[in-house]
Amino acid sequence: MKNQKSIVLAVLILVVIAGLQLFSRKKSAPTAEVNNPAVSSTQTTNQNSSARAKATEALKSASTPAKPQGEALEAVVPTGGPSTAKERASLQTMAQTLARAIQPNAKQADLMRALNSLKMEPKITQDKNAYTGDMDIVRANNPLPGTRYFHAQYFGDAHTEKFVQHMSFEFKPGPNAVNEAVAAAQAAFKVGAPNEKRGAFSQWELSDGYCLWISPLNKNDIKDNPFNAYTEKDIGSVRMAVELCPHDHQ
């Protein structure tokens, strides 16, 4: 009888220990996730501001290691919901605006006219020097829904007609944002499959030495940007850019 009691007691103790271990494991799981910036950045969008601050700190403290060449791009977790029809329409309008601005006879004034007609409140600032000419930066202050940070750099001087060297905008992050941007670009620029594709990054070679690329922004991309304001919640925004290609990396 005594033996039976001892056995029952031992079994009970084991059950309690197992239960405690299980409980402690469940409790520690979220802590581990918070330590992972990628996970925390997704979670914080739906959580309170203190959690967001924690994520910000995690983002800030994260080092910026070199992107190991040849490796897949850092996964960008989209934080927004699906885009609306209005936002997709904006995306297509902006892609068309980019496509038209690099047409052989397109002028900076044409772009300004297009942006004005869309009521995007474009503004030009000029950086000029006697040695390397002028760089006009065109920024739109009133973006179309679902897009933002339109930015164009025009180079030229008294003897060189102005031409666009870089032009870009961003599209709202979302589960299908990259595919939507790719489709909009393919329609606007009349291009097929990208010439270069690595992870979510796609690039097409256009005429006149221009390249078109689309890529979701990761934490390194938003760091120290000299033109745009970013916080960690902007990770996953999709940038579409057209620029003169200085060289080829394929």
Binding site: P65, Q126, G156
Partner: protein, 605 residues
């Protein structure tokens, strides 16, 4: 093996076949597993179990009139493009241990003993094999490869390599693409272990340009061939088996099984393409009606433009004039807190109910743009880039946020400082002018990175004038270093164009250097070193940026270094000036960099 028609061959020849070959080799880099391995005793052998090797330097170099310091035979002069196996353990050593791979006739002074083929060679007298095409001439066990061309296979600008289990041993093999003379596609890939190099015993080594000329000379031969036959038909045996497997896409299977991650990537890519195609055909069609309601279609605009062409031109001219006037009025794209007298400005939450923190007068801010496309007429959300993340955004009245150039109190303050600054600038400019006389001044210059580039900037796509198709040439030397390494000023100078978007998410700055030459430091990070801004005076070796990595993830971090004589003015990029799309005074920086490299590090590529 694919064969090309005479017409196609002509077309390909006209389009610089070997430039395309090089590109193709890279394009195929994602699946660069070999289809056969080379063995000195057996010739071509079947591939065993292989895994992707860690990218590293191949132990092969070419001489450029190099001298081999041998123990037995003294100084041996090597003819140009003698293939050498080198010991690359000491990358930065001025001399490397080397062994001649190609036959002795490549040496000016013939050496009978193979021992005489070993010795020390100056690293600066060697070049990598990236830009060379190796034509197999003759030799034991290589009959099937005779007349084929080999070029080292690159994977994202790294040498492609695999580790294979051959006869119970793990050996590393570098992958070479194999081309037949008339075929633009590689007909196969061979894995070559640097310990077994008999395959290269009797070869001719061509530069890509020379190979192109060689093929042009063969054009008439090809034209005269009855029925468009290929003279380089493979010999029976393993060679024909691997080439036919390669052409049908089945040859990679054995390697593909163990190249798991790469093939997973390609599957994902295929799926992505399918998804995109599906999305394009379905979703976009249904959304088009929405688009048509909200934006003017391209067709409608085209019609309008044709109808009012002359009126449009006049209007555009007028707008251009206005544009010029407006542009001249604004100079800097910096936005600041602009209060009349208050030293602080309360920054509030969105409802303007609670003060979050205080911003300083004239403190730099950035306007946040929301995704909803709504802008408030009176309020604006701003971010303070120099404050701690998480406590750096809030709302203020729009009237307090202005461009630096439009903030009157700040301009007044700057004007008061002007005489002092003008004096300082004058002194600084005098210091710049007085330092060196130009690029050919003996005191010019310092290398633009603090340590030597990890790879030669004289070869491959890193070199100046690397050709991409017919129309574009590389206008810089790409200096490979580590992400975040300092990019430094090569000479005294002044920043004449601050950080701007350059390419694939990296940036550039332009510096006018003492003596009047201009350098563009491209592919740097957005992060700006303290004290560097538009108008900053810089000294040689001063950090002016940090080496960045393009967002495509394709490449190693690098400094894209462009050099201009400074004899003309105007933008450095010039879209219509082919083939460099650069200003007329663009210089080839290679020799300058080489000189500075040697001066600074005691050795140069």
């Amino acid at each position: 093996m694919k064969t090309l028609s005479v017409h196609m061959v002509k077309h390909l020849l006209a389009q610089s076949i070997f430039a395309s070959l090089a590109t193709l080799a890279l394009a195929h880099g994602e699946h660069a597993g070999p289809n056969a391995l080379w063995s000195d005793s057996k010739g071509l052998v079947e591939v065993g179990q292989c895994a992707v090797g860690q990218d590293s330097d191949v132990n092969l170099r070419l001489s450029q009139s190099a001298h081999l310091q041998t123990k037995n035979a003294g100084l041996v002069t090597l003819s140009e493009r003698t293939l050498l196996r080198v010991d690359i353990k000491q990358q930065n050593a001025p001399k490397l241990e080397a062994e001649i791979v190609t036959l002795a006739q490549n040496m000016v002074q013939k050496q009978a003993s193979p021992v005489a083929g070993k010795g020390l060679v100056k690293q600066e007298e060697l070049q990598t094999i990236d830009d060379s095409v190796i034509e197999i001439q003759d030799g034991k066990l290589i009959e099937s490869l005779k007349g084929q061309f080999l070029q080292v296979s690159m994977n994202d600008d790294q040498y492609a390599s695999v580790v294979c289990n051959q006869n119970g041993k793990q050996e590393k093999y570098f992958v070479f693409n194999v081309y037949a003379a008339h075929n633009m596609d590689p007909v196969s890939r061979i894995g070559i272990n640097v310990k077994e190099l008999q395959i290269f015993r009797n070869v001719k080594i061509h530069s890509t340009d020379e190979a192109e000329d060689l093929l042009t000379a063969q054009e008439s031969k090809v034209q005269s061939l009855p029925g468009d036959q290929n003279t380089n038909a493979p010999a029976p045996g393993i060679w024909s088996r691997i080439t036919s497997q390669f052409a049908s896409g089945g040859a990679d299977a054995k390697v593909a099984e163990v190249l798991g991650s790469r093939n997973a990537g390609s599957s994902a890519e295929t799926m992505n393409t399918q998804m995109t195609a599906q999305f394009k055909s379905n979703a976009m069609e249904t959304e088009r009606s929405v688009l048509n309601k909200t934006v003017v279609t391209g067709e409608e605009e085209d019609i309008d433009e044709e109808a009012d062409e002359s009126e449009e031109a006049a209007q555009a001219a007028k707008e251009n004039e206005e544009l010029e006037k407006k542009a001249e009025a604004e100079t800097v794209l910096t936005t600041v807190i602009c209060t009349a007298n208050d030293p602080k400005l309360a920054v509030r939450d969105e409802k303007m109910a609670k003060v979050l923190f205080y911003g300083d007068r004239f403190e730099e801010v950035k306007a946040v743009q929301d995704w909803d496309g709504k802008t408030d007429a009176k309020l604006i959300e701003i971010l303070f880039p120099n404050r701690k993340a998480g406590a750096n955004t809030g709302w203020v009245k729009k009237e307090y946020v202005k461009l630096k150039s439009e903030c009157a109190p700040l301009q007044q303050k700057l004007k008061a400082q002007e005489s002092f600054e003008a004096k300082a600038t004058k002194q600084a400019n005098a210091a710049i002018i007085g330092k060196i006389k130009g690029l050919d001044d003996p005191n010019c210059c310092t290398f633009p990175t603090l340590k030597r580039p990890t790879t030669s900037y004289k070869e491959g796509m890193r070199r100046f004038q690397w050709r991409r198709g017919k129309h574009r040439l590389h206008a810089a030397c790409d200096l490979y270093r580590l992400h975040g390494d300092a990019a430094v000023a090569v000479a005294p100078g002044k920043v004449i164009r601050g950080t701007y978007y350059f390419y694939q998410g990296v940036y550039a700055v332009e510096v006018l250097h003492s003596g009047g030459f201009v350098a563009r430091y491209g592919e740097i990070m957005a992060k700006v070193p303290k004290g560097i801004k538009l108008g900053s005076v810089v000294s040689p070796g001063q950090t002016i940026g940090f080496i960045g990595t393009v967002n495509s993830g394709c490449c190693k971090p690098m400094l894209h270094f462009e050099l201009y004589k400074g004899t003309v003015s105007g933008p450095l990029s010039q879209a219509r000036r082919r083939p460099f799309q650069r200003r007329a005074d663009l210089l080839n920086p290679t020799n300058y960099l080489s000189k500075w490299e040697k001066k600074q590090f005691g050795v140069s590529y």
